[in-house]
């Protein structure tokens, strides 16, 4: 094992967790898991588990963060100390701050902020168990939690990460593929229009490989979106 020796696929094209190159990990979503919050969702994605809770809209304090013409999203992403094999020291860290910012930018593109001037909407994301793709789980769970809270949005952001390992482009990277691979491309997609609201890249990809990752992400986003809608509908009893 190690950077040089990791083989993401066997001779039959099957990955370590039994998937083919273009298959996703299993995803489960449940809403309303934090009864005291205005909206909430728990997502299990492979071995990842994340919970998002939404409060608001509420008065934006301190005064200096208020925007006169619209609401602001106050997004906090945090990984629990027990979520990874190596303990994460609780408290501020740059990675959490960055992920909080990109999550906020992604969600602000769909939330109808102008409806609530001078307010803020709190979005709290907590990662309970981490196994590659936690920022994607966080954004996806936050979208469901916002819908659960009744916050008006023009679409729901779905986030997935594709990448490359051993020169092969793979959908929905797991932990060894992410750690030992050559590139990873998390994206945030609006399923109704296939617009991109979030994109980061780590590593090297040729134009061809980039396009393939993009396509994988869009396809996976549509599959996950169906699960998100189902979770919301189940919470409210579905069509009658």
């Amino acid at each position: 094992m190690g950077y040089d020796n990791y083989q993401c696929m066997d001779a039959n094209g099957i990955r370590e967790d039994g998937r083919k190159a273009d298959e996703m990990r299993p995803v489960e979503i449940v809403c309303g898991v934090i009864p005291v919050a205005d909206g909430s969702a728990r997502i299990k994605w492979g071995k990842n588990e994340a919970i998002a809770a939404v409060y608001g809209p509420m008065e934006a304090h301190p005064r200096k963060i208020q925007r006169q013409d619209r609401a602001i999203l106050d997004v906090r992403y945090n990984m629990a100390p027990f979520s990874t094999t190596d303990r994460i020291r609780p408290g501020f860290n740059r990675r959490s701050r960055e992920i909080g910012k990109v999550t906020r930018d992604a969600l602000e593109s769909v939330v109808d902020l102008e409806l609530y001037p001078r307010s803020k909407i709190r979005v709290e994301i907590e990662i309970i168990c981490a196994e590659a793709g936690t920022r994607c789980c966080g954004i996806t769970a936050a979208s469901v939690a916002l819908a659960d809270a009744g916050i008006p949005m023009s679409d729901m952001v779905v986030s997935v990460a594709a990448g490359k390992c051993n020169g092969i482009v793979l959908m929905d990277l797991n932990k060894p593929e992410d750690n030992y691979g050559e590139a990873d491309l998390p994206m945030g997609i609006l399923p109704m229009t296939d617009e991109i609201v979030f994109l980061q890249m780590d590593g090297d990809l040729s134009m061809e490989e980039f396009k393939q990752c993009w396509d994988y992400n869009v396809k996976a986003a549509h599959d996950v979106h169906a699960i998100m809608v189902e979770a919301l509908r189940t919470r409210y009893g579905g069509d009658v």
Partner: protein, 229 residues
């Protein structure tokens, strides 16, 4: 503004749930109502809720909402703080409402606000006016507006208040008979109950049933069944 009818259901009895971003087809020429926006010529649902068709307008009745104050609304506020001449009240909206000394029913000395209304107390008041940023001014000058000294408060989402009141107040009467209590429904989703413990508990169960199933048809029957037990 209170409506006293149960939420409208489609003629066939079917209820269609929509999610944010869902395209609403088959309504050419319809107007976009609450919770719906026209994007690139298509009607798009902006919230999680049930689709409502009222004549030419299509709207979404939300399944989850926060109270937005309107002038004239009767609300139950909880005092959160005060200065020398105003109280700040939590009315469940995006912003606290203010109750100035001049609009209180007592003669209050400047600086003596705490003697009349302390932090955590509940007040029945009316929204006097709302500015363009949704900040509200409340008043206690009016018939029946008072500090609530006894009883308990239950919270329900504001958009199901019409279901709690019912057609012509029918559901509200059923609840009053069920628990033999006084009930006041605030437009901000706070319901004040005052009576015997057992009665209040019965009414709270009924309110929970309404809260969970108001969007499904047959609500009256379900509450009557609960009352009959």
């Amino acid at each position: 503004m209170s409506e006293d009818s149960t939420p409208p259901e489609q003629a066939s009895g079917a209820v269609r749930l929509v999610h944010p971003g869902e395209r609403i087809g088959g309504h050419d020429g319809a107007e976009a109502g609450h919770g719906i926006r026209r994007i690139d010529g298509e009607l798009v649902a902006m919230r999680m809720g049930t689709l409502q068709e009222n004549g030419q307008t299509v709207s979404v009745e939300p399944l989850s909402s926060r109270y937005t104050p309107r002038a004239g609304d009767l609300v139950i506020g909880l005092v959160e703080g005060m200065t020398n001449n105003i109280w700040f009240m939590d009315i469940g909206a995006s912003f606290n409402a203010i109750l100035p000394m001049s609009l209180a029913p007592w003669k209050v000395e400047f600086g003596a606000v705490r003697e009349h209304l302390g932090v955590g107390e509940a007040v029945l008041c009316r929204v006097q006016e709302v500015d363009e940023t949704h900040s509200a001014v409340a008043t206690m000058k009016g018939m029946g507006l008072r500090k609530l000294k006894s009883g308990m408060l239950e919270t329900i989402p504001p958009h199901i208040i019409p279901a709690v009141i019912g057609k012509g107040g029918a559901m509200l009467q059923t609840l009053k008979d069920l628990g033999d209590c006084r009930i006041v429904v605030g437009q901000n989703g706070r319901v004040w109950l005052d009576g015997e413990q057992d009665g209040m508990r019965e009414i709270r169960s009924a309110l929970k049933l309404i809260r969970d199933t108001a969007h499904l048809p047959g609500l009256k029957e379900r509450v009557d069944a609960l009352a009959g037990e």
